[in-house]
Amino acid sequence: MQRRVVISGIGVIAPGGVGAKEFWALLSAGRTATRTITFFDPSPFRSRVAAEADFDPELHGLSPQEIRRMDRAAQFAVVTSAEALADSGLDPAGLDPYRTGVTVGSAVGATMGLDQEYRVVSDGGRLDVVDHAYAVPHLYNYFVPSSFASEVARSVGAEGPAVVISTGCTSGLDAVGHAVELIREGSADIMIAGATDAPISPITVACFDAIKATTARNDDPEHASRPFDRTRDGFVLGEGAAMFVLEDYERAKARGAHTYAEIAGFATRCNAFHMTGLRPDGREMAEAIRAALADARTAEDQIDYINAHGSGTKQNDRHETAAFKRSLGDHAHRVPVSSIKSMIGHSLGAIGSVEVAACALAIEHNLVPPTANLTEADPECDLDYVPHESRTWPTDTVLTVGSGFGGFQSAMVLRRVT
């Protein structure tokens, strides 16, 4: 009998809401957190909109040395891990370190730290042979994003398997999926798992400008993330993290823990097509969805809600609409589908985990969060995308998907614990 894995604690940092409660308040109200970039002067760039999180590391208990040592994305991961652990009701001192592991997803690592440090050691880009005397002592922690997992492991006292999973924009789903696998196979009983990214820096904005992947709706930032809308013109860069306490179901039940959902199935595939391009037919994502449903022993028509990748690029929204139809048949037209990126933007590797949090809370509240800013129907996107307002809806079983540069396609099934 395969072990079942449940979510018993959630921590979230998202634009417009730090903490799982604030996050859910934003989503259920259908508010957007996309604004003009404030972290730096965005005027030289094509896309000047982002979803920034209102995060103060000191307020969340990080010490001055921890703040110096950690890139913002690592800070997010450590703070959300602490929130998840507190939420789980587990006594941190009572954790068996050997049976506790860590997985952290991240697509782009310590981008903010690397961007800032490169600027200094190269003296504003002037030096080819950069000057090591100006490097911060903790530059190696930015160099290797594995530091995100080591910081979390250190902060919670985990001594089981620890790793960063970095599969582009599916990292957040894949890190949770990997943690589920480690519990199922018996390598750990508890996993502190999730994902983080803090990519809002000039290099990231410039690299997405170069391929016009991000929105140019600079005069209307609050409505710039428009998944499935006919006028969508690219994604809005975001940041954030979600970390979970994942636990063997029997163990959680025995201690009387509150559980949000079971992670019932997971699968990932590659499209082997293009590093950034997607074929419109959604074939490989459909295959991942079918495999995740099989892993969860769930039939297509049992899915009550689909949390879409819904990035708001022309190609993505068409691609995954096709994938839903291909994998779920007629049921695709009956099930509510929404994209929370319409409200909090796209935090790259983090978003998969942030969306897992949204799915767990949707099950908890029997409420489907909306797709904001969906006002003009696109004939190629003809499903029920829950525009503008959240919907009270019996939500026992949820499908969430992700699609990433590199061709990664991942799917996960969450289910109410019964």
């Binding site: 970095s166 690299c207 590659c270 590093m275």
Partner: protein
């Protein structure tokens, strides 16, 4: 009972040679690939030696359209992937697309590519940043490019755990094969020998500033003073043993056991996790320590880390209880490429019944390790243990053995 997973193909890019045969011949001869850095002017830095892959001409191995969109490490990874398939006698086009996957380890992504684009950004402005930056520098690039090149559409992944990553990737590939994937290409090929990568590695505080290639990297020596960074690595084809046998494949050996642990927080006074990783990997392989014929050491060459590793090996195997070797003394430490290259050396030791030497070091007697020094050692090798550690506290151990 878990399915047995075997290695049927290997592609190597090493500072001591391109391809399995050249790498292995150099290992037998004890030839070192550690030299003064040629790729950039390193005279202003405190460390000036590296294990560079100097004879890799990308244009000879990688389609020309991929050159402008890839970092040096991705080009080497693409070549290693081609060679691994060739070595395994597999034409991926004839295999089921969803039954093949790829799992790579990365430590720092396409860092040199990123360096160029950061320079363009800050020197000239955002509009000078390459359209390829969005995918050439991130950690998933090797898996993505290899998947596209060979049409691998099955379960795939990318792990980042610094130098431990090479083993973590192979372990994840083994998991995927056990779950039904017919083939998984896995391992690490890595590089960050560029000024920006060099500065970052120096900041880690573990790079040797020795000027003499003959004694800069001295693991287990009493005066060990850090490692020499290198580049390259290995990618391996993993298959279900039965399916490999069914197609008459030549088998290097079995990935028999694996475990990963993390060190306790600094200052806790608790024992580091390496010994536990070794014991759990042996348990996973269903073996006693006595079944292991050689240990491929992590060989950090940082005194405290060397003591930890020597103590772990001693505790499990007894004082001088097992031959220990570190062929990475000839290549330098290859970031996430190091461990999959060590697994390669372990499998070749099983094939050829000799163990490559550890060069240019004189281990301290108080470690009580039987280090294979100076020359290769002939000995019966049925199983080997490979150790790898990553900065920050990652430990991984893998057991490979002759296929049953």
């Amino acid at each position: 009972m878990n399915t047995s997973v075997v290695v049927t193909g290997i592609g190597v890019v090493a500072p001591t040679g391109l391809g399995v045969n050249k790498y292995w011949a150099a290992a037998r001869a004890g030839t070192s690939g550690i030299r003064a850095i040629r790729r950039f002017d390193a005279t202003g830095y405190p460390a000036r030696l590296a294990g560079e892959v100097v004879d890799f001409v990308a244009e000879e191995h990688v389609p020309s359209r991929l050159i402008p969109q890839t970092d040096h490490m991705t080009r080497m990874a693409l070549a290693a992937a081609d060679w691994a398939f060739d070595d395994a006698g597999i034409d991926p086009a004839r295999w089921p697309e969803f039954g093949m996957g790829v799992v790579t380890a990365s430590s720092s992504g396409g860092f040199e590519f990123g360096q160029g684009e950061l320079r363009n950004l800050w020197r000239q402005g955002g509009e000078f940043v390459s359209a390829y930056q969005s995918f050439a520098w991130f950690y998933a690039v090797n898996t993505g490019q290899i998947s596209i090149r060979h049409g691998l559409r099955g379960p795939s992944g990318v792990v980042v755990s610094d130098q431990a990553g090479g083993l973590d990737a192979l372990a994840q590939a083994r998991r995927l094969v056990r779950k039904g994937c017919r083939l998984s290409l896995a391992g690490g090929v890595d590089a960050s020998i560029c000024p920006w990568g060099w500065v970052a590695q120096l900041a880690g505080g573990r790079v040797s500033t020795g000027a003499d290639p003959g004694d800069a990297y001295r693991p287990f020596a009493t005066d060990a003073a850090g490692h020499v960074p290198g580049e390259g690595g290995a990618l391996l084809i993993l298959e279900d043993a039965e399916s490999a046998r069914g197609r008459g494949a030549r088998v290097y050996g079995e990935i028999a056991g694996y475990a990963a642990t993390f060190d306790p927080p600094p200052g806790s006074g608790r024992e580091p996790g390496l010994r536990r990783a070794i014991e759990l990997a042996l348990e996973d392989a269903g073996m006693d320590p006595s079944g292991i014929d050689v240990v491929f050491a992590d060989a950090a060459a940082v005194p405290e880390l060397d003591r930890t590793e020597a103590a772990a090996i001693r505790t499990v195997f007894g004082p001088r209880g097992v031959p220990v070797t570190a062929p990475k003394t000839m290549t330098g430490r290859l970031l996430s490429g190091a461990a999959s290259l060590d697994v390669t050396a372990a499998l070749l030791s099983i094939r050829d019944q000799w163990v490559p030497p550890t060069v240019n070091t004189e281990p301290g007697v108080d470690h009580h390790l039987d280090v294979v020094l100076g020359a290769p050692r002939e000995l019966p090798v049925a199983a080997a243990l490979v150790l790898a550690r990553g900065y920050g506290g990652f430990n991984a151990a893998m057991v490979v053995r002759r296929a049953g």
